[in-house]
Symmetry: C3
Subunit: 144 residues, 3 copies
């Protein structure tokens, strides 16, 4: 049993359009496979139109969060990004940068130290379904 860092990849299929997905089960799965007892899990989404945060994962907030992002970075206004690429996802980039691609969650006694009504979520802001690549990195004291 020693201190170490272990890097895993997890793929998640999304619907895009600011879909909020509970990825706590996948993160917990990596944690258990790695046998992390005391340490941290870094969850990082590759790409610049998705982001990671925590929320109470329930149907109401899964509508409220997209509505919030539509209010602060509306899809319909002009973005300079779309002049560059013409792919109509300028709003998705702005939302993802505002929220950020990573979250670090502490672990003790083999458990994620989340609240009871607090889940780790991926929000995919892109305008189409995507297969997302997550990096889940455990750091700390493992059982191995």
């Amino acid at each position: 049993m020693g201190f170490g860092i272990w890097t895993d990849r997890v793929e998640i299929d999304t619907q895009g359009n600011s879909q909020v997905l509970d990825i706590t089960p996948q993160v917990r799965g990596v944690l258990e496979r790695r046998g992390l007892r005391e340490g941290q899990v870094l969850v990082f989404v590759t790409g610049s139109t998705a982001a990671v945060t925590s929320t109470e994962f329930e149907p109401g907030l899964c509508k409220d969060l997209p509505a919030f992002f539509e209010r602060i970075a509306p899809r319909s206004i002009p973005y300079h990004h779309d002049e560059t690429w013409h792919d109509g996802n300028g709003h998705a980039h702005v939302r993802a940068s505002a929220l950020g691609p990573s979250l670090v969650v502490p672990v003790a006694e083999g458990r994620l130290l989340l609240g009871t009504w607090q889940q780790i979520v991926l929000i995919d802001f892109d305008t189409r379904p995507r297969r997302r690549q997550l990096v889940v990195q455990c750091a700390g004291q493992g059982e191995g």
Copy 2:
């Protein structure tokens, strides 16, 4: 003296309603008790209606930050979350998810590498006073 990770809990009483609290003294206290010389401190708030960030902790910004969140996620508009729970804190959830529950701060020579006018703050967005649970996790080279 070796590489390790140490998990501490800190309780903070808040007034809710987007109160901004300077938690730098509590984080520094954990750091000093653990004797962390070179490494990082992860500050993570348990629950999904509070968040952690850094700011210059002064009375003006302690009003400006709540005003900012009231502008981007007003308390008075309808939230689907409130249809689920009827507890009137949909705005608090949205604000907390937007800001995020965690912050990682580097440490060198036993000191937090913050700017002179940069403090670690907890913002409690809930609609009532709460006793908040913070996880403060030191990782790195300790004295122990």
Copy 3:
């Protein structure tokens, strides 16, 4: 070759006014000098008027991100912070706190696990050119 944590400082000259700067080359430079093979890089900006996130670094988004922050935290509205200091950068503080001063990026096989169109960026919200201090901290298995 062992587990360790290494703290480096990087200085970046900015124009302020929400300028978006690609700091991926500087972060990669530290990574390579330290020979980090498997682990994480923490990027942290000292001070409370700048922030770190990731984005596709291209000219369009370098205009869209400042426009986004101008929309959600306009420069021209009154801030209580300016009553305290009269330095006219209340909006810069609010924007920086909202985005956050730090980003953790995973590393494997000596490479930052970013997407192809995903760069690490510093956004300087202050109202004047600044020389910014970044802390770049590598944690993990190095070659040394």
